[in-house]
Subunit: 189 residues, 4 copies
């Protein structure tokens, strides 16, 4: 709608594509504004620096994913199944969106990624974490520090997505299911 967010979004899209492929170091502001079809000045109109741009992109992607996870609130469905369904969504999303996944993996392993940023992002995962907390109480899943669930879901998915991207594994529907199940075995009680 508004023209403003069009440009901002174009810059985001360009950054996502380019960083996935060339990394942070290999992606210059010039590459970004050329790919986005805007001017150098425009990038600095929307973001105060390259670092801010990258950090904002990370935050928005993570928040978007959090919002996309549908938590089943049907009272008749057992907790175990609700958790499983959320788990399945998170992992599949990352596995199946390898550009985003590559960006997120790169960011989260880089010095860009501070505790402060992770804390901020974690807020949007509140509902999911509440589900997990109930899961712990009701002995459906193991009692682990919250961030460890993150490791078994997001980080495992990132790893699988990248291996698939560089051609080291063939990511069939069967394998996807096996990955989700295996990670589930890791956290379930």
């Amino acid at each position: 709608m508004a023209k403003i967010s069009d440009k901002r979004q174009a810059i985001f899209n360009a950054t996502l594509r380019l960083v996935s492929e060339h990394g942070f170091h290999g992606t210059s502001i010039a590459m970004i504004y050329k790919e986005a079809g805007v001017s150098a000045g425009s990038v600095y109109h929307y973001f105060s620096s390259k670092d801010e741009l990258v950090v904002e992109l990370y935050k928005e992607l993570k928040k978007k994913i959090a919002k996309e996870v549908r938590i089943n609130d049907d009272d008749d469905v057992p907790l175990r199944q609700k958790i499983w369904e959320a788990w399945d969504q998170i992992i599949r999303y990352e596995i199946e969106n390898s550009i985003e996944s590559t960006f997120l993996a790169q960011f989260s392993k880089s010095p860009y990624c501070t505790m402060e940023i992770e804390r901020e992002v974690f807020i949007d995962y509140r509902k999911i974490m509440e589900l997990f907390e109930r899961g712990i109480k009701e002995m459906v899943i193991k009692r682990l520090p919250p961030m460890v669930y993150n490791t078994f879901s997001i980080d495992v998915a990132h790893s699988i997505a990248q291996k698939s991207k560089i051609g080291m594994i063939e990511l069939t529907e069967d394998l996807k299911r096996t990955i989700v199940e295996s990670t589930w075995e890791a956290i379930k009680m």
Copy 2:
């Protein structure tokens, strides 16, 4: 004696420390040769470029780790235990060497990391992979593409190591054991 490898090793050590802390982008050649106590020219005597230095460091670290895993060849010990012991060693090594782990994680999620490099490194993990193959045959562990074991060991360990480093989890001996066990549940039959 062995003065040559002294300089090369000093450059490696400096690179490892600095890249772990500041990332590839944040680590300049100048920082490296100052930290290593050598001249600019010396870096280029041993490595043809910054990229080559980083890639070589990755390869050597990975190979070193492969060599350090002791595989139990006692015929009386059951296969399941042998695999478990190897598994335990790999994960613990990464968790407990957070500087190396941070570097390796960063590298493996970056565009530096090509299939070619991974293939070359994988060769040194031959013995470990043979163990896993026997594990598959004897139905001790799940039949997974080899690189997926990598995800559940190395990549999970990298993730845990980094979360511990930035203070998002407290890595107690108990938690280490839980991590090893959980990953084991993911791959065991």
Copy 3:
């Protein structure tokens, strides 16, 4: 007005002066942008590399000279005189503009100077060459490969200009006339 070409031209002027005096090797980009009064980045805004800058300067100078040669199109003037007049202009120009001449000589004897560049530049000498071709047909001048006329005009002039510049000959009006006449004897029938 035309501020863009001002900077480009300033870079050209500085390069011409400096390379004439210190040679390609002896002229750094830093010397050029300081002499031109622009920033390092500006040099790379107008030229993609030092080599490109030097090659472009060569091409532009050669083309400028080609344009400055006035060909007499008065039908009453005999062909012989027309050719002589063009010849005289070319040689005098080079002899009397020793900075340009030194640059051009240096370039044309260096590995910068490829057949491709020479071919491109030669296009602007079309009209002059047509005159020479008529001269050959009408037996006013010898039948020589086109580039050989180049040798007897431009290259001889470069040589004379440089010898004058380093003080090995005194370039009087008399000597200039003698040079033009002598080269004419070389090519005339």
Copy 4:
């Protein structure tokens, strides 16, 4: 014979070949000692610097050529023919030895080439110049400053040699003869 001069000569040969092809700037000491099959230190044993090496090579080549010109001292042969024969030898040598010619041309148009160097080299051309002086007195050739004969012989030859090398003229025996004759017309009375 002596091993010393073998190495010195190997360095000379390598420099000649490499500079002809890549220019002064494009030829590093490393390239030279690799091509010559000696160590870095050896280059500095025989020459105090890169510049000295290049200058020495120029001097030696020029002196060698001077020595190779056979001056006919048969009293029955007319002066005109003696001069012609010397002229022919000089021009042909340069035309037919394009590697040396390229090096010499490049050097003589570069800031390496000072009046001092040219003066020193000129000494070896004493006998040839005496012949020319007699030619002037006996009105066989034009009265020109000595260095101008240089232009019409050496520099013209360099130019032709290079044009042939980069493929802009085809240097047949016929053309060679024409070049020698044309230059002779330029200087003869």
